[in-house]
Amino acid sequence: MALVSIPAPLRRYSDGIGRFESTGTTVAEILVEIARRFPGLFARIADEGRLRRFVNVYLNDRDIRALDDLASKVGAGDVLDILPAFARG
């Protein structure tokens, strides 16, 4: 089981949940699970089946685009972070 972490500003779309365990074995499978469990969150981070371009996903602190992107393998003990860009002052 991998741990999926949702940042505070997006938790209003995940019923307040900041972390959950997923049985997905790839990043893509975890996104499918997010779409099923938290459709509002999925709509914020993905569009037409792909991640929005201002959302980055990190697997054990490594950007998945430098790994195998959505096909990156995920297993027990792995941590997946979904991090949208914020404007910030």
Partner: protein, 352 residues
């Protein structure tokens, strides 16, 4: 490189003695700082902390670029300003320069009161060694990124919202650029801004201080000690993250650093802002690929009061200005004919 201070006698270095006794800097490093030139883009929360650190550290030339005036609600975190500046209605760049000149009379401070855009950025950054991000919006950050990559100059990205901030040191040709890491800015209304989510002064100070240390390393040649990651900190829950991004360079199909297409610099992307003649209004237009999410924007703005909307526009009032926002991200801001002010208001309430 400036030569003004490069041959400074030792007594002029004495004021920096506690800094150059730190072995990685040394007297040689201090002389390099004195010969260095930087541009601080944006002189708000991040920019005042950056300029404060780096002018005190003895950087020979600091250009401070900002489009805004000081307001009372800035004083909570913008450390170079005080109540007399608010009463005097001073531009931030000018007020900062006055304060900094009193702090260090041995270095050159150049305030520039302007809206940094595609027409002036090359002129304002081509004669500096390093560009520092003290801005509050992605539009200007992508513009800085374009200019930095085009000119092959390093720049340091930093941003803070609420209690959380992040920073990244960008060295064109050595590591990924901003567009490699963040391919596109969030659509207006999609994410919070400092005006809607707040921002803590200490969080800003932490991020700007990390940026300042990176600047000192870059300018003294301590490149091995530079940060190659996306650093994130949340000062409220005491969390620190270092995200690995070095592998993105060359792996992502970056239009900027890989294909050398400078969309923001060439004005193809970004704001197209015009004062609406005789209406005391400014239209701020942002070209975007995704339409504005009115539901998210209305929800985010709800603390400000009444939001009126239909399918074609959304209206609200903030800071004494009436905003009319359109689905393509365009907004008409009533109550000003000042383009820079309108762009600031647009960034504050609608986002990028």
């Amino acid at each position: 490189m400036s030569t003004t201070n490069s041959a400074a006698p030792d007594d002029r270095l004495e004021r920096y003695s506690r800094q150059f006794r730190f072995p990685p800097i040394g007297e040689a490093g201090q002389r390099k700082l004195a010969a260095s030139r930087i541009a601080v883009c944006g002189c708000g929360a991040l920019g005042t902390v950056l300029a404060n650190h780096l002018v005190r550290a003895g950087i020979g030339f600091t250009r401070i670029i900002d489009r805004d005036f000081i307001e009372l609600h800035n004083l909570q975190r913008q450390i170079l300003f005080d109540e007399t500046d608010v009463v005097a209605n001073l531009p931030k760049a000018e007020a900062a320069a006055r304060k900094l000149r009193a702090i260090n009379g041995d270095v050159v401070i150049e305030p520039v009161v302007t809206d940094l855009d595609s027409t002036n950025i090359l002129r304002l950054v081509s004669d500096v060694d390093l560009i520092l991000d003290g801005t509050d919006n992605f539009e200007t950050r992508y513009l800085i990124n374009d200019a930095a990559v085009k000119l092959g100059k390093p720049w340091i990205f930093g941003g803070v919202i609420g209690s959380e901030g992040q920073t990244m040191t960008i060295r064109p040709g050595v590591g990924p650029c901003l567009r490699c890491v963040i391919e596109e800015s969030p659509p207006p209304g999609m994410t919070p801004t400092c005006e809607t989510a707040g921002v803590l002064g200490p969080a800003v100070a932490v991020i700007a201080s990390f940026e300042a240390v990176e600047a000192i390393k870059l300018l003294t040649g301590a490149h091995d000690a530079l940060n190659t990651q996306l650093f994130m900190v949340d000062v409220w829950d005491w969390s620190f993250r270092r995200l690995e991004i070095a592998g993105l360079q060359g792996k992502v199909d970056c239009p900027c650093c890989l294909h050398r297409r400078f969309d923001w610099l060439e004005g193809l992307l970004g704001s197209h802002t015009t004062s609406l003649c005789g209406r005391n209004s400014v239209q701020v237009a942002t070209r975007r690929s995704e339409p504005l999410d009115f539901d998210a924007l209305a929800e985010r703005l709800s603390p400000l009061g009444e939001i009126r909307r239909n399918a074609f526009l959304l209206k609200f009032t903030a800071d004494g200005h009436e905003f009319t926002v359109f689905p393509d991200g365009r907004a008409i801001i009533k109550g000003t004919s000042d383009i820079a002010k309108a762009r600031t208001l647009h960034a504050q309430y609608i986002g990028n």
